[in-house]
Subunit: 130 residues, 2 copies
DNA sequence: TGCATTTTACTACATATGTAGTATTATGAG
DNA sequence: CTCATAATACTACATATGTAGTAAAATGCA
């Protein structure tokens, strides 16, 4: 397994860009601006992307109208953030966090089912390991 | 219900201080430094606390050796962060996030039980509401 | 081939954050 | 009451981040 380079701290703005890249695949600068749309300057996005590229979190293709694509998985990012949250606000336990998640977001029946599934798996793992 | 003042963005350093305050109750500056311990300057913590106080996230008592205490709940903070994470890395669904939590942290049998409990409740809510 | 347009690179600057020194004020011992 | 010590306030400064202008380079069309 590859090195676990602790996600180099993502700023809000960087997150915003990454999210955009995760949703809409690789994009050019102009497309990026269109997607992020909003009242944000073209060069602003350019700068953000450049910085992300420096940090190896985004890859830029060699073609002329370069394609920018996320070089990190959403999972990796959330994992890092969650680890921090668990430690900080959960006192080390995931339960308070999950409690929040299931309480504050009205889960659909399907989602609840999925989560039950996950728990069941976790339980099996737990048993097997002990 | 009170205003939902979107947690004013907590920087890593601020989180660190808040965490300390949540764990060990109200503390004075010196105690704070002791707890955070580390090789961090006294005045550095002072500055961090001051900034936190400005942002109303920490309260300072009037007594002489002032007592600093968190003025925000861990839950509030995690709620804000999670909301962002869900939207950004989960594409709007909590499932991927929870999946991560239960997979990456080896949950104890008790924790799993608690979570099942939570899901059961969520299910009841869901049913009642629909 | 020359210019208009698009793309990319550089540069700039304000605010935020991390860190900490120095000055000032309050407090307690003698 | 005076001074040493603890506590608090101010000030400073480097790096990070958000935002964007301008210059330079590549492209495409006339």
């Amino acid at each position: 397994m590859a090195k676990k380079r602790t996600t180099p701290r993502l700023s809000p703005g960087e997150m915003e860009v990454l999210q955009m890249l995760w949703q809409h695949g690789p994009v050019t600068l102009s497309e990026a601006q269109a997607k992020l749309g909003r009242e944000i300057g073209y060069t602003t996005i350019q700068t953000r992307l450049n910085r992300l590229v420096e940090k190896k979190l985004v890859a830029r293709s060699a073609e002329r109208p370069a394609q920018y694509s996320a070089a990190i998985e959403p999972a990796e990012v959330s994992a890092g953030h969650l680890a921090l949250l668990v430690k900080r606000t959960g006192g080390g336990s995931v339960v308070p966090l999950v409690a929040h998640l299931v309480r504050d977001w009205a889960l659909s029946a399907e989602e609840i089912a999925e989560l039950k599934q996950l728990l069941a798996e976790a339980e099996r793992q737990s048993k097997k390991k002990s």
